[in-house]
């Protein structure tokens, strides 16, 4: 329940200083008061803590808590510290209610990555200093024990606290002493008394529960979601009344294995042929049941379909590199030209005498991804490259894919993973995770570029973007990156996908966010727990009070 979902931290128990809103790209104060500010040299970022904020034990929440949270992260080398320690020098409390984040500086005296410093305030929780000290005492300063501690006695600042948890269900109960009732924040409590997060076996079980009204907000892929209201007449709706039903934010991507263990994938002609032969319209219409914008509507790049990101690159400059897919003729021509032909007459092409054969894979049970991978594999037959599918269980899949310090094993030639969705560091962070070689060699790489692509030119631009403030220059850099990505094809986007699907059953509750619901700022269609999406909990109404 308290996992930071991409760039929208889940703020039910623990809270962040700011909330990110993917719909308008702004951050709004939560624990903070007013906007944050950089100093003139952009080396320090400061913000104030809302004096009304207090912990569940009624002690005030102060800047010292923010500072000590960071100190503890660094001391115990948590993932949060690992992700930020190269960019943040220190976080200090200059008085009870003022926090200063000092950026790490490069040789020229400028912040290495102001973007990530800025993002810290909306993606990382503040934890109570007093409680962290209790915990440290309990585990005797042992980092492993600290991270494994169940924290049953935790003090938090959010509107909900733990009520019940086992492996099939997590239930949170509202804390009626929540500080956010203060007029300076929400002015009232969130409407539901309990929030139950039920863990279903698979999508089918989740859909059945949604149909039966056992689920109010479903954030899974429900195939042909429109049939739930058009054919079954159920009180179910989505953010948009018609296709694509949601707001595309992330780019589920098929990665080529470039770590050297897939014969022939180091050859650009092979990668390009596969990527342009895939029938994307069928993936979107059939695998995604139209819950994605098409590549005709939003040509492929590194950007998600939101207007803000689309405006960040020069469309005309890359137009001749973008492909719409299903282009068997060109794909075959590319392979013929590269001399990759079927010389032994078995129907499959060979490269230097060795048959090209690949396995395309994704986790078992992720139905939209599985069907998409099937369509990718079907393209192989059309161009004489033998592609078959395989679906390992997620537990196996994740361990294999995130191990970037050795070549990928057999069976992971073409594999599907996600990309970042929307967030305060986007699209830079998404591009970094799709293209940057800094993750190659990590033993546990949950960032991206799982195929092991390495391009020094791209790395240089990715490193330079966070310090660039000139918009024209930024556009140039992004355009260049899109060009590299579409030229080298280390991976290729298969569809656009919402940050999280948002399908609601209004048997009990209504007034969930929908397009044009008049909320200001607009509440994004997430699962009502992440980032500014939490604002939706304050607007809910009972259908039959």
């Amino acid at each position: 329940m308290t996992i930071a979902q991409q760039d929208n931290a889940r703020v039910l128990m623990f809270e962040t200083p700011y909330l990110y809103n993917m719909l308008d790209g702004q951050v709004y104060p939560l624990l903070a008061e007013g906007p944050y500010a950089w100093n003139d040299s952009r080396t320090e970022l400061s913000f104030s803590i809302n004096p009304a904020a207090h912990w569940s034990d009624d002690t005030p929440l102060t800047a010292e808590d923010v500072a000590y949270t960071w100190e503890a992260h660094v001391k115990y080398n948590t993932p949060t510290a690992a992700a930020n320690v190269d960019y943040i020098e220190d976080i200090v409390a200059s008085d009870d209610y003022t926090v200063v984040i000092q950026a790490k500086l490069n040789d020229a005296g400028a912040a290495i990555n102001p973007l990530l410093v800025q993002a810290y305030v909306s993606t990382n929780y503040v934890i109570q200093k007093a409680w962290i000290q209790i915990l440290e005492e309990r585990v005797g300063g042992d980092a492993t024990a600290l991270l494994a501690d169940p924290a049953e006695d935790v003090i938090a600042s959010g509107p909900y606290m733990k009520y019940f948890a086992d492996d099939s269900k997590v239930v949170l109960i509202r804390d009626d002493n929540y500080w956010g009732q203060d007029a300076s924040m929400w002015g009232k409590l969130p409407v539901p008394k309990y929030l139950a997060h039920v863990i279903y076996k698979d999508n089918a079980a989740g859909t059945t529960a949604l149909q039966a009204g056992e689920v109010d907000v479903s954030q899974q892929f429900n195939a042909n979601v429109q049939n739930l209201w058009l054919e079954d007449g159920l009180p179910i709706s989505t953010y948009l009344p018609d296709a694509p039903y949601g707001i595309g934010a992330s780019l589920p991507t098929a990665f080529f294995n470039l770590t050297g263990s897939s014969y022939g994938l180091d050859n650009l002609a092979v990668r390009k042929a596969i990527a342009i032969a895939v029938d994307y319209p069928t993936i979107i219409a059939n695998a995604m049941t139209n819950q994605s914008a098409t590549f005709d509507q939003v040509p492929r790049s590194l950007m998600n379909p939101t207007d803000g990101e689309q405006a960040l690159y020069d469309h005309d400059a890359v137009a001749d590199l973008q492909w719409a897919g299903n282009d068997i003729e060109t794909a075959n021509a590319i392979l013929d030209e590269a001399g990759i032909v079927d010389s032994d007459g078995d129907g499959w092409r060979e490269l230097d005498g060795q048959k090209l054969t690949y396995i395309a894979t994704c986790p078992n049970g992720w139905s939209d991804w599985q069907a998409a991978i099937e369509v990718v594999a079907a393209a192989g037959k059309e161009i004489g490259i033998d592609i078959t599918t395989n679906y390992p269980e997620w537990s196996v899949y994740q361990t294999v894919v995130t191990k970037s310090d050795a070549p990928l094993p057999e069976g992971y030639d073409i594999f599907m993973m996600w990309s970042d969705g929307a967030g305060p560091t986007q699209p830079w962070s998404r591009i970094r995770k799709l293209m940057s070689s800094e993750f190659n060699g990590m033993t546990s790489n949950w960032n991206g570029n799982w195929g092991g692509y390495a391009n020094p030119d791209a790395d240089a631009i990715i490193a330079a973007i966070p310090q660039e403030t000139d918009e024209a220059k930024l556009k140039e850099m992004y355009t260049e990156l899109v060009q590299m990505y579409l030229t080298d094809i280390p991976s290729f986007t298969l569809m656009y996908r919402p940050q999280s699907f948002h399908t609601v059953n209004e048997s009990v509750w209504t007034n969930f966010p929908y397009d044009g619901d008049g909320t200001n700022p607009p509440v994004p269609p997430l699962d009502m727990m992440d980032g500014w999406g939490v604002a939706g909990l304050y607007n809910l109404e009972l259908v039959n009070p």
């Binding site: 859909t207 009344p241 069928t282 059939n286 369509v375 078959t388 069976g411 209504t510």
Partner: protein
């Protein structure tokens, strides 16, 4: 031999089973001769199109052969298709919520109802207890009611590529009909399409063929192994018999389906063609055939004619094939039939677990079920994507078991009437 056949075909059970089975086999053989669609071709953008006849709208619009039919109920059917009784009740609910007195609303009077609706409907209005789903429904309803009572035709216009202006191409009247036989593009999808947008019937016919061949290969492999081991172990006895019985017991106690899953999994999807799967199924399901054959052979071993053969100095192979095999042939045929039918079921079971043949090569009945389940056809009520598959599997097993029972009646002296 002739006599035996005649006897077999006199058995009603065998005959019914045989007819059903042959009907399935013939369909599998004949259908592709007439309908040449590739079975794995994606024909529809969009999943699970319902069964029916799909007529190209563009072709029917631009068809020069238009007929005028004056059908009395055309208008009322058109209205009913867009305005059901439930819709009328929902409109009444809206109007009442908006303050129209209930006695002014007559939901059966379409003209009056639509008039009230037009004067009162406001897409932005909310009444207590109204959900977003309701709001979307009313907006959809309002859109579909637009021009419902119009009597004039619809104007067809095309964009002039040069000037960018819409030009009128003609008018389609409400009494215009086309003859489906004269429309160039009509596709009949008797069982609709599946989650990939493939023609289910064509896929089903192909899948039935593949599953039958899987069953046949698996059955032949299993029966051959079982027969060979049973014959050798029953006839030879001694150490050979002990060894074979030992192996047989080993395989008996390991659940064969678990073994099958392990083998399938270790082969990897890469090598898992339909034929490989069939062989693997055969290799794991010979145990009971071998046991039964061994038992029969032991009882035959000391018969007079076998001893006579031995004295004449015939070889073991000769004795087995001429003196023993004919006596158990009927049993072996029955075992084969059961093995084929269970081979088909086992493939379906494997594929549902995602361990069947590679999915991009050929359809099989199990794979069709697997994808139907993954895409929730059974939850969303898309019966055509999985129910025909179940029916075919059931029919194959049923017909084979019937044949088996029929044969049993003929050959088993204990059951003879």
């Amino acid at each position: 031999m002739k006599h035996t056949f005649r006897q077999v075909f006199r058995s009603g059970k065998f005959l019914v089973g045989f007819v059903i089975f042959m009907a399935i086999v013939l369909t599998v053989l004949i259908y592709p001769l007439f309908i040449k669609y590739p079975p794995l071709d994606v024909v529809s953008r969009g999943t699970f199109l319902p069964p029916g006849i799909y007529v190209n709208v563009y072709d029917s619009m631009s068809s020069s052969l238009r007929y005028t039919l004056l059908l009395d109920d055309a208008a009322s059917r058109r209205i009913a298709s867009k305005l059901s009784h439930e819709d009328r009740l929902a409109m009444q609910e809206w109007l009442v919520a908006m303050g129209v007195p209930e006695d002014e609303i007559d939901i059966e009077d379409t003209v009056k109802l639509l008039e009230l609706w037009k004067n009162n409907f406001d897409p932005t209005a909310r009444f207590p207890g109204m959900t977003n789903a309701d709001r979307n429904y009313y907006i959809r309803l309002n859109t579909s009611l637009d021009g419902l009572l119009a009597t004039e035709g619809a104007t067809v216009a095309a964009l002039n590529q040069e000037t960018g202006v819409l030009e009128e191409k003609g008018i389609i009247n409400q009494t215009d009909y086309v003859n489906v036989g004269e429309v160039p593009n009509v596709r009949v999808l008797p069982l609709g399409t599946d989650n990939f947008g493939r023609d289910v019937l064509t896929e089903l016919v192909k899948a039935t063929g593949v599953s039958l061949s899987i069953g046949l290969v698996a059955g032949v492999v299993a029966t051959s192994i079982g027969l060979l081991l049973g014959l050798i172990s029953g006839y030879m006895g001694g150490l050979v018999d002990d060894l074979i019985v030992f192996i047989n017991n080993l395989f008996t106690v390991i659940p064969s389906f678990v073994l099958l899953i392990l083998i399938s999994f270790s082969i990897g999807q890469e090598q898992r063609g339909a034929f490989t799967i069939a062989v693997v199924i055969g290799l794991t399901s010979w145990v009971w055939t071998a046991r039964a054959v061994r038992a029969q052979v032991i009882s035959l071993r000391n018969r007079d004619h076998v001893n006579l053969s031995k004295l004449s100095g015939h070889s073991v192979a000769h004795i087995l094939t001429t003196d023993i095999l004919p006596y158990i042939a009927s049993y072996v045929i029955m075992a084969l039939i059961l093995q084929i039918s269970s081979g088909i079921l086992i493939e379906a079971g494997l594929s549902i677990l995602g361990l069947g043949p590679r999915t991009t090569d050929v359809p099989t009945l199990g794979l069709m079920m697997n994808w139907g389940m993954i895409y929730q056809a059974h939850i969303m009520g898309k019966w055509w994507a999985y129910f025909p598959v179940i029916v075919i599997i059931a029919l194959i097993s049923f017909s084979m078991n019937l044949m088996n029972t029929g044969l049993d009646q003929v050959f088993n002296p204990a059951l003879r009437d």
